[in-house]
Symmetry: C2
Subunit: 326 residues, 2 copies
């Protein structure tokens, strides 16, 4: 959520000269996305009408070896009509470049803003957009393992190195019990595809009630489709502290999804378990970051307990109120 | 250089409804300026053609009581033809607002990028733009004391609380000697006006060799005009570490300034002293920030010694090589 690599204007102008995009007009470092450096870049465009792009320099969290997967995925999804940002090719057809010693890509700019308090109509539209994404991904041949999937949670808990109880007394025991619970019940044979895996409101651009873009695919991976919806449910249907569940949003989100891709009986039955897993995943990654970020680091640490509250909610949730049948 | 206050899209849309600017299309937090929160905001515009603005929320470094001064100053300078961003008035004529509990203003967006390695032509254009600013400010009736001017340096050194030598052994003695040197020689009767006081390359937007905007006036104050040029000289004519002086840039910068506003004999004679003062001012503010920012704070601390090197340069500089007569 900061600009880690300062790109001099001179280097940026030279970088842009590889593309058919006209010349540099403006560049602002933007605070967005996972731990990359992002610039909102404006050029004259070939016809002088002005074009905007996102320039991303990949920092530590993204493995450069994964970039061809992300590039191919967004190409595939875009070709199928999903509103995703395309990676722009230079005159030689190259989309993956290097700038200031970092892997770097010029990416399509999409308008829209991220909502903070989704309405029912917005939750419906976002759920529908996820289903369209899953549908479009069905015949995508690429894949990427989910390192933050169910098999990654126990190692993640271990890497917190006994410090979970410093966040809240008893948290470690709670996590271990949840791991054991999920281990025995995690569904292994639900429909899979490439999923977004991080479709928080931050990563959905909207104008009014309409989705204008799905962005930030850097966690995308191959996993259970309904698990993607479970992640989205936790991200869209609670207050940020996790204390209040907004049933209206939850119903609308799932209705939107099912308007395109109805959940199977197995997906529906597994949904509370998938939601518990999703809550545990964000609890654990937030706990890890909490433990490993100094309190005075001037970086906002996201509260892990906001996801413990969601976990508690899902552990006690009535499936019929959670997932209204299609 | 970060976004300190997160503005929800819903609150932003409501804020914008006060203005004749159409509706919200996009908003990106940008890493720019002194310690404020800035967003690059796009709206549909009244005619649907699209408009961009900078939204600034004022954080701790700007005193809200100074905002009317900055607003009036940029109005005055803009009316005189200077390329400065205007503060936008809402339908009731208000330019100073509140958003998310902070004083907030909607400000004109200007194109252009900040150069890192100015060419002679760029240094000339920037020097000329500063002179035009000084000329335009001549009949501006507002004023603001320079809290970081010559009388502020001794208290600033004291507030470093004996820690200057932790930056480099002997630095405190060097600073004290310089304070004593400048105290006796500081020119008191040179031409004054409102000056920018921070016209680093960062704060000059350019397209090619042309200046398209002067921005970030939040240090602007009433002080000696030639001191403003001295600050600019230190900022534009050295490598960032202060080790290398680029005489060609220095000559071009001053020539550009003098193409509009020739330096008087007294200004010329005082210029090396003013440059020493400017170097000491940035040495001291950087030292203060260095001492008071934890090394692990993930905020880039600017090296105070880069300004000690400039100070050393100016202390030994030959006035005739520094300031070529107009």
């Amino acid at each position: 959520m900061a600009v880690y690599t300062a790109v001099p204007a001179e280097a940026l102008a030279q970088f842009l000269s590889r593309y058919d995009c006209g010349t540099l007009v403006s560049a602002k470092g933007i605070a967005e996305g996972v731990e990359n450096s992002n610039y909102l870049v404006e050029t004259t465009g070939c016809d002088g009408s002005g074009h905007r792009y996102i320039l991303t320099l990949y920092e530590k969290r993204v493995d450069p070896a994964d970039l061809p997967f992300f590039i191919d995925l967004l190409d595939h999804l875009g070709d199928k009509g999903c509103l995703v940002p395309r990676f722009i090719a230079d005159r030689d057809g190259q989309r993956l470049q290097e700038l200031c010693g970092r892997p770097a890509c010029l990416i399509e700019f999409l308008t829209g803003v991220s909502v903070t308090e989704p309405t029912q109509a917005q939750a419906f539209a976002a759920g529908k957009a996820m289903a369209e994404l899953h549908l479009a991904a069905q015949d995508f041949t690429g894949g990427r393992p989910n390192t933050l999937g169910v098999s990654g949670w126990a190692p993640l808990a271990t890497s917190c190195d006994g410090a979970l109880n410093t966040i809240q007394p008893g948290l470690e025991g709670r996590v271990m019990a949840e791991l054991a619970h999920l281990e025995g019940r995690w569904p292994r044979d639900l429909a899979q595809s490439v999923i977004h895996a991080d479709l928080f409101p931050d990563n959905v651009l909207m104008l009014g009630d309409a989705v204008t873009g799905l962005i930030d695919f850097y966690f995308s991976c191959t996993d259970v489709r309904a698990y993607d919806l479970a992640i989205m449910h936790g991200a869209w249907c609670f207050d940020s502290d996790g204390a209040t569940y907004h049933a209206d949003r939850g119903v609308a989100l799932i209705a939107g999804y099912q308007s395109v891709l109805p959940l199977s009986g197995d997906e529906r039955a597994a949904f509370p378990t998938l939601c518990r897993g999703a809550a545990l995943r964000f609890l654990l990654t937030r706990a890890y970051d909490w433990i490993n970020t100094p309190p005075d680091a001037m970086v906002t640490r996201k509260d892990p307990l906001a996801y413990l509250r969601r976990l508690d909610f899902y552990a006690g949730a009535d499936i019929d109120s959670l997932v209204v049948p299609a």
